[in-house]
Amino acid sequence: MMQVPDTRPSLLVRIRDANHAEAWNEFSSLYRPVVFALATRHGMTSHDAEDLTQQVLWTVSRAIERFDADRKDARFRTWLQTIARRAIINAVTRGKPDRATGSEQVQAILLSQPERTELTMTLEWDYRREVFQVAAERVRNEVSESTWQAFWRTTVENQTPRDAAKAIGCRVGSIYTSRSRVMQRLRALVQELDFGESDA
């Protein structure tokens, strides 16, 4: 059975406690490919993108400590998502990852609020797209082939449930349940990384 995201404490909230290895692993395994994809999409070599990914992840992980523990969980989540989004946008805007500069300085730069330019706005958009794609890839590997196809054909490729059911060889009702399962999981993963609101 699929996990029900809403009944467990938010992943991001659990990360704050450094003891939650699983939560951190899950966050970084989702976030890392997003940063990497965004960096390479914006012209960075994969080598640089890899270093940059580690820098950004490191910065975000350190920023977690500075969050005021008394705030409410929901605000923590929004806050961390903002930090994560800023870090990646700043990093990609700056180009090649920093070499000689001290880590403190790098962190300060990555966590500052990005200027609102055409580039950063494009990056916001791309960030959200990468989040969706990474999440989709994850769900893709969690569900069966027919479940995925039910979702993909009717949601992305605009097939009617009836056509999709015929192609997959299942009943129309299964198309509805299958794609709902995929969407439910997809939304949970996307929300771990991006609240859908920008800094503005």
């Binding site: 996990q3 029900v4 009944t7 990360i15 450094a18 003891n19 939650h20 290895a21 939560a23 951190w24 692993n25 970084s28 395994s29 890392r32 490919p33 070599t45 994969s46 080598h47 640089d48 890899e50 270093d51 940059l52 990914t53 580690q54 820098q55 950004v56 992840l57 490191w58 350190r62 920093d98 070499r99 000689a100 880590s103 959200r128 797209r129 969706f132 794609q133 989709a136 890839e137 893709r140 590997n141 969690e142 569900v143 082939e145 995925w148 949601t155 992305v156 009943r171 129309v172 009702g173 299964s174 509805y176 349940t177 709902s180 969407m183 439910q184 997809l186 939304r187 996307v190 859908g196």
Partner: protein, 467 residues
């Protein structure tokens, strides 16, 4: 259709996973005939904006997302790539080899034990997981590993017999090594004997030196990647999967560092530029583990480990293992220095030093214990030069002052000034590397005091200097 009325609770229980399997069929049948419930279900899983975003953002997704097959277990995926064999002992045939067993399954591939029929010897075949065989970045990385390891010919580095592709699946062939990994040895025997620890570390250092000479940084030195063939005392460094040429700009490791970073260097943890000395840090961590049974930096989460690697000082080995001599403890601390500048200069240096240590252990009467080289100062090069410039300036001023005072017939000075000979002043940049921090701190304090004195008109006025 037995039931046509809508059941909100069924949607709830379907979504939280509590709908019994036998009711699922009924629920699906109901959805087919009831658009109200179907729409309600859609809205419950996501709002309209999210459905639209999903369509929009996934429409230009790479084809991998659309076509990649789901989870497969190793046996199933292996069965897809091997062909049948007549031999009941064998799992199947892969390229020219008879596959006997799956030795290990990793993130991106698996290792098979197979018989090379032509040469009648066992080999280990590392196969890129079929899941990744179509993934160009993964393929490239796999090929790079093969090239990297193949370029290093050394007793302490795994040999590569060949690299090829079979039915579209890339693989590389290595010697099959019967034995255990250093991790298994540690789990079984830790703490290891001092002599054994040094012997193993020396061989790892030799293997690293050979890789470094080829311009390769291993980047993933840890006990699990060190093989200990049974029956011999040889140690073999394996898994160049993360190795990177120092000038390489084309390689992708998007999945790197996803695991436990316990043996990672601080510069690696922070994603900063790294060089060969990063491997030396990892070697220090491996030595620590051999003598204590655990890595130097431990925490519940990888994040906690990274934090400790960059911020915390490790406990000294001799505190944990009383049989470890202080010089060995110091050596490990040297390798685990946060700043690469303060570690050894090269893997060759480490290996030579360890060899001398070993000679001393075996013949304490005739071979003296090698001394660790003095360390580079903690402060940066630039600072050293600017400090030395200030020092020289001060020396000149003091000298001038002393001279002028000596020329003054009546010494009415109110303040004692340290004579130049009291201050350990280095005369050139290089010799600065040989002084330790405490001396430098003293010098700095002296300089600050002198500068204050020299600029303070109450202490030293021009009238007093010039008669």
């Amino acid at each position: 259709m037995k039931q046509t009325h809508c059941l909100q609770e069924q949607i709830d229980s379907f979504l939280d996973g509590t709908l019994p399997e036998e009711s699922l069929h009924e629920f699906e049948a109901h959805l087919e005939s009831c658009s109200v419930c179907e729409t309600a279900l859609e809205r419950r899983v996501a709002d309209e904006r999210f459905w639209n975003d999903t369509k929009r953002f996934l429409s230009d997704a790479p084809t991998e997302i659309k076509t990649r097959s789901g989870n497969e277990d190793a046996i199933a995926s292996l069965q897809r790539i091997v062909s049948p064999t007549d031999d009941p002992e064998m799992i199947g045939r892969f390229a020219g080899y008879e596959v006997r067993a799956i030795v290990g399954v990793g993130g991106m591939g698996m290792v098979l034990k197979a018989l090379d029929v032509a040469l009648d010897r066992y080999v280990a075949i590392k196969v890129l997981h079929p899941l990744y065989a179509t993934h160009s970045a993964a393929r490239k990385r796999f090929e790079r590993e093969a090239q990297a390891a193949a370029a290093v010919l050394h007793d302490n580095v795994i040999a590569i017999y060949g690299v090829d592709t079979w039915n579209g699946t890339p693989y590389l062939v290595m010697p099959y090594i019967k034995g255990e990994s250093l991790q298994q040895r540690i789990d079984r025997q830790a703490p290891l004997e001092v002599e054994q620890t040094i012997e193993i570390a020396m061989q790892i250092a030799r293997g690293l030196a050979a890789a470094h000479d080829q311009g390769l940084i291993h980047r993933d030195i840890k006990p699990a990647n060190i093989l200990m063939p049974s029956g011999v005392s040889r140690v073999i460094v394996t898994d160049f999967g993360l190795a990177r040429a120092s000038d390489d700009v084309s390689l992708t490791h998007s999945g790197m560092l996803a695991g436990t970073p316990q043996y990672m260097s601080p510069e690696q943890a922070m994603g900063l530029h790294l060089d060969y000395r990063s491997d030396l840090f990892s070697l220090g961590a491996v030595m620590f583990a051999m003598l204590t049974g655990r890595p130097p930096f431990r925490a519940e989460s990888p994040y906690g480990v990274m934090r400790k690697i960059t911020d915390a000082r490790q406990r000294s080995v001799m505190e944990i293992n009383a049989s470890a001599p202080h010089w060995l403890s110091d050596l490990i601390d040297r390798l685990l220095e946060k700043s690469p500048d303060r570690r050894f200069e090269s893997a060759h240096d480490v290996a030579d030093h360890l060899e001398d240590c070993l000679a001393h252990l075996r013949q304490p009467a005739t071979v003296v214990l090698p001394k660790l080289k003095p360390q580079r100062s903690k402060i940066s090069n630039k600072l050293v030069y600017s400090v030395s410039a200030v020092v020289l300036l001060c020396v000149a001023m003091i000298a001038a002052l002393a001279l002028s005072e000596r020329l003054t017939p009546t010494g009415n000075r109110r303040h004692e000034i340290a004579s130049p000979s009291d201050v350990p002043v280095p005369l050139d940049g290089m010799s600065l590397w040989t002084i330790d921090d405490s001396a430098l701190t003293e010098v700095e304090a002296e300089i600050r005091q002198l500068r204050r004195d020299l600029t303070n008109p109450n202490i030293l006025s021009t009238e007093e200097i010039l008669p």
